[in-house]
């Protein structure tokens, strides 16, 4: 009963000073709203940036070394021996080779059913990379197999999700053609191509073969401006077109744990190989920019919460001074100094919590308005999200806890002052 009783007294006290209580709650509300709004914005932008620059923390992209010393120091080329050694490095869970197709592939017509997406007369030269099926595990559509179909078979291919996004938001508007239908519905479409044909006449092979490519999936692990075929298909085409083995163009190393990446990178470099950190570095740079911006805004919000705490501290201090006699009466009726302290702290907590609730609601309400404004004012660009805000459940809890905590901190000094009231002297 006593806790409820003290809460009852705190509520009654706040009710008695509605104006002051509302002003304090408004201060806490502004802090909470800013905190939730900016954090949700930061999380939303961060999620969009991750879609734009997907970087798997466990992947190390190995490329041939710039300086090749052949077998003297055991490094330089990315051949099968290097692949085996890479896969055996401590901390490496897998090593997946990538092999660029050195036979030209071109399409001079659209996939069936997507004629409106193809500018008239266009021939599209398609850069192709061969990938091990394991690297695309999970990205290949149900019912599709990412393996070499053999000569004359329809070749399964996988596209970069980012390429589709860039096509939709940049290329299609520039070419004046329609955008693609949603991603899942284009999986399974077939594109007629000519293997051995190049738009650069000198590069065209003596033998040109008509073939069909079937889109088997969409993946972030496919290089953005390339089309992925099964590694075995690329090897077969190299054999058919008598292309000499030049080793792999790249090997993707999968670290057992993200913390193994630095030691793996160092080991790779000791082998005379290089690590392509372009994608990772870009992702890290973008992530850093987003984190710093979000951090600054959150810091601003925390400062606002701190200012709210100061406002509440000042207001409660004035309130305690004004009702010192009431506090003495409460003590005469059976309140201990600790009870008085709790009542004032509860007043702060209630004000902070009430401000937090309204602040969270305001921030949640402002997010769709900001999205609507962004949709109206910002041009469409690749990876532009439907919403710039992400509201995980913990953010709501944080939006309530921070202003409540700030208010309680602000109430500490007034609560201590209230607990020091000498009832006998005050009532005399």
């Amino acid at each position: 009963m006593r806790a409820r009783g003290l809460l009852w007294i705190a509520l009654a006290t706040l009710r008695a000073d509605r104006r002051g209580s509302l002003l304090d709650a408004a201060a806490a509300c502004v802090g909470a709203a800013a905190l939730v709004f900016f954090l949700a914005l930061g999380l939303g932008v961060s999620a969009a940036a991750q879609r734009m620059f997907p970087a798997d923390a466990r992947l190390v992209e190995v490329v041939p070394g710039n300086v090749r010393l052949g077998g003297v120091l055991g490094g330089g080329a990315l051949d099968d021996a290097a692949l085996r050694r890479l896969g055996a490095l401590p901390g490496a869970a897998a090593a997946w080779p990538r092999l660029s197709l050195r036979v030209p592939v071109a399409a001079n017509g659209p996939p069936k059913g997507l004629d409106y997406n193809w500018p008239p007369g266009m021939t599209l030269q398609i850069p192709v990379v061969g990938l091990a099926p394991e690297i695309l595990a999970g990205d290949v559509g149900a019912g599709f197999r990412f393996e070499d179909p053999g000569p004359g078979g329809t070749i399964p291919v996988v596209l970069s999700r980012r390429l589709l996004e860039i096509y939709d938001k940049t290329l299609a508007p520039a070419w004046g053609v329609r955008r693609l239908p949603p991603i899942l519905s284009i999986v399974g479409i077939e594109l007629p191509v000519r293997i051995g044909f190049s738009i650069v006449p000198q590069k065209t092979e003596d033998r040109i073969v008509e073939a069909r490519l079937r889109l088997a999936g969409i993946s972030d692990r496919v290089p953005i401006y390339m089309l992925a075929m099964p590694l075995e298909t690329v090897r077969r085409l190299h054999r058919e077109y008598a292309k000499a083995d030049q080793g792999y163009s790249q090997v993707t190393l999968l670290a057992a744990r993200p913390e193994d990446v630095p030691s793996l990178t160092a080991a790779v470099r000791r082998m005379g190989l290089a690590v392509d950190e372009g994608e990772r570095a870009t992702a890290e740079r973008v992530g850093t920019v987003v984190a710093v911006t979000t951090g600054s805004l959150v810091f601003l919000a925390v400062v606002m919460c701190a200012l709210a705490a100061l406002a509440i501290a000042q207001s409660l201090s004035a309130s305690v001074r004004a009702r010192v006699k009431e506090i003495a009466v409460l003590q005469a009726l059976g309140a201990a100094p600790s009870d008085v302290r709790l009542v004032v702290l509860a007043e702060g907590a209630i004000v902070g919590l009430a401000g937090g609730i309204v602040g969270v609601l305001l921030a949640r309400g402002a997010a769709p308005l900001a999205d609507r404004a962004a949709a109206a004012l910002l041009p469409d660009f690749p990876f532009r999200p439907e919403t710039f805000f992400v509201h995980p459940p913990w953010l709501v809890a944080l939006g309530l806890a921070v202003p409540a905590l700030a208010a309680v901190l602000g109430a500490l000094a007034p609560a201590a002052a209230a607990a020091r009231v000498d009832p006998a002297r005050t009532l005399s």
Partner: protein, 223 residues
């Protein structure tokens, strides 16, 4: 019910120790109404607050409702005040932000270790207001009550916890003659019903109603 022995208390004023109570001895039995009279500043209120466990800064022995005050923690003294002592003040000291009923409910809300529901406390407070004839004013804030009504609300609040001791500090000081007489009669009735009543006053009419009148002067109590 109240036993003070050799109670001494002094204030510090500008670095100088000013004695207020000098070895006061006082015994008030259950069912007795004792009036303490004396000039302003003689320490009447101080004596009352010592007896009410509000003032801990004194020397001597004090036993209230069977509980020795020496060495009691702040919480224990608060609990004693809540359960066994009722205070009535000259200026009523009702909380202005609460209604009359809520003011009466306060001791119930501050009770430690009780499991009485708020609804039950409200019901008892309503009954207490009814006893002092103010049921129709239950929802009114103190500002809308007359002086006599405020003092009756204060008395209902003091009696809410069914205390063993009622301490009143100039309870009729702000009341007109008729209203004051009513309050004095009520105190006398309460004492007759077994309550220990200690009233600090400088009014003759209050003294007349008391079973004993003691004079406090120069920090000493005399008959």
């Amino acid at each position: 019910m109240i036993r003070l022995h050799g109670v001494t208390k002094s204030f510090r004023d500008a670095g100088v120790e000013v004695p207020v109570l000098r070895g006061v001895d006082l015994e008030v039995a259950a069912g007795e109404m004792v009036a303490i009279v004396g000039p302003s500043g003689s320490g009447k209120s101080t004596l009352l607050y010592v007896a009410g466990a509000l003032d801990r800064d004194f020397s001597g022995e004090a036993v209230v409702a069977g509980v020795a005050l020496a060495g009691l923690s702040a919480e224990a003294r608060a609990d004693l005040r809540n359960r066994a002592v009722g205070f009535v003040f000259q200026s009523f000291n009702l909380l202005p932000g609460l209604s009359a009923l809520e003011n009466v409910m306060l001791p119930g809300m501050l009770r430690r270790g009780a499991r009485e529901a708020a609804a039950a406390i409200r019901a008892r407070a309503t009954a207490a207001l009814d006893e002092v004839g103010l049921l129709d004013k239950a929802a009114q804030p103190p500002a809308r009550l007359s002086g006599g009504e405020r003092q009756r609300v204060a008395i209902a609040r003091a009696l809410f916890a069914r205390p063993k001791v009622l301490l009143a500090d100039e309870p009729t000081g702000h009341l007109d003659a008729v209203t004051g007489e009513g309050i004095i009669r009520l105190f006398a009735d309460l004492a007759a019903a077994g309550l220990t009543v200690l009233v600090v006053t400088h009014e003759e009419r209050v003294s007349r109603a008391a079973s004993r009148v003691l004079h406090l002067s120069g920090g000493r109590l005399s008959s």
